[in-house]
Subunit: 189 residues, 2 copies
DNA sequence: ACCTGAACACCGTTCAAGT
DNA sequence: ACCTGAACACCGTTCAAGT
């Protein structure tokens, strides 16, 4: 089951435009964050603003396309993690992977958070799947007796989100310290 | 030593405009967050946009004026907390107080974070003082042997900030759970 | 001393008209 | 099928001119 969905073939010029928009948007998001100007992206890509909207009806749709590959890699990694390691190690590694991913663009932590909450977001499916993997790994760590019995999957998702955001606000080092501290707080010593 | 600074008297009409702007801004920030439209605030207050800028040269200056009273109350509380309680209780209460304060306006957690980082922000002094109180209370808890020796004041500030942000993103309940979990992680149980 | 509001340089989003 | 770009409804910020 692919996450990508069936993309029926585009006309050659449309395909080129789509590709150029994605490249330009990646650079713009990287430099100015997920709220980078869409008009500027279209301009830099050498197309009219309407063309951008034609390909990506919303900022979330553009972000979803941009994150497609990275998310698929995360999903694959998250699905193979259980069994590979001791449950607590697997969970901690997962938390680090997602937090590192969220560091791709400034504002991404908040954006993904909205994607999880908003069922109509083009990012909702992706965010739900990320949260599902978190839930599964948390469950295993809990059953292994490594995680406190009261610690929910939502708690771990909140920690990952908060750690990601802290990385944007202060420094990756401070984010890592928060992660360590939070893991210690969820753990049955 | 007052935090307020000496405000020399304004002309009567200017004083009225300033007051109206603050009232309107409080409502707008409460409804739309700290990034609420300044033009709309001026319009709702019945003054021209230039008048708003005349009184508050930046969004941070407006926010600082808006938060003045609440911050002074926080400072007073934070200064009297040591000695009132067991060190860890004092620190935990402080964390809750600041997080509850940050819930006043959506986006305030991030805004205060920037104010701490940016030395030129009109909020810098306030944020530094909040961080200073956190540092002091953390130090006391550490010396009392309640906090891990490796836990820094910056760690506690990061936790407060992350908890505040989580409250905005998800729910106050989830924020409280994150706070409890983080305190457990910082503590020498 | 203070206020006004036009002016400038931007935005996001839609949609009729073109190819 | 797809692209263009004008049109609309907004922004933040400055500053000459008024009172």
């Amino acid at each position: 089951m692919s996450t990508t969905g069936s993309a029926r073939p585009l006309r050659a010029d449309a395909r080129r435009n789509r590709e150029r928009l994605l490249q330009t948007a990646d650079a713009a998001f990287g430099e100015h964050g997920v709220e980078a100007s869409l008009e500027q992206i279209a301009r830099s890509a050498g197309v009219a603003i309407g063309t951008l909207y034609g390909h990506f009806p919303s900022r979330a749709a553009l972000a979803a396309a941009l994150l497609r590959e990275r998310h698929d890699e995360l999903f694959a990694r998250g699905d193979s993690l259980p069994g590979e390691r001791v449950a607590l190690d697997a969970l901690t590694e997962w938390m680090r992977l997602v937090a590192a991913h969220a560091a791709a663009y400034h504002g991404l932590a908040e954006f993904l958070g909205r994607g999880l909450e908003d069922e109509n977001s083009e990012l909702h499916a992706d965010c739900t799947r990320l949260a599902g993997i978190t839930e599964r790994l948390a469950g295993q760590a809990r059953e292994a007796g490594a995680l406190g019995a009261h610690v929910t999957g939502a708690d771990v998702t909140a920690v990952i989100s908060a750690v990601s955001w802290t990385g944007e606000q202060t420094s990756p080092g401070q984010a890592e310290r928060l992660l360590a501290l939070a893991v210690r707080g969820m753990t049955t010593r």
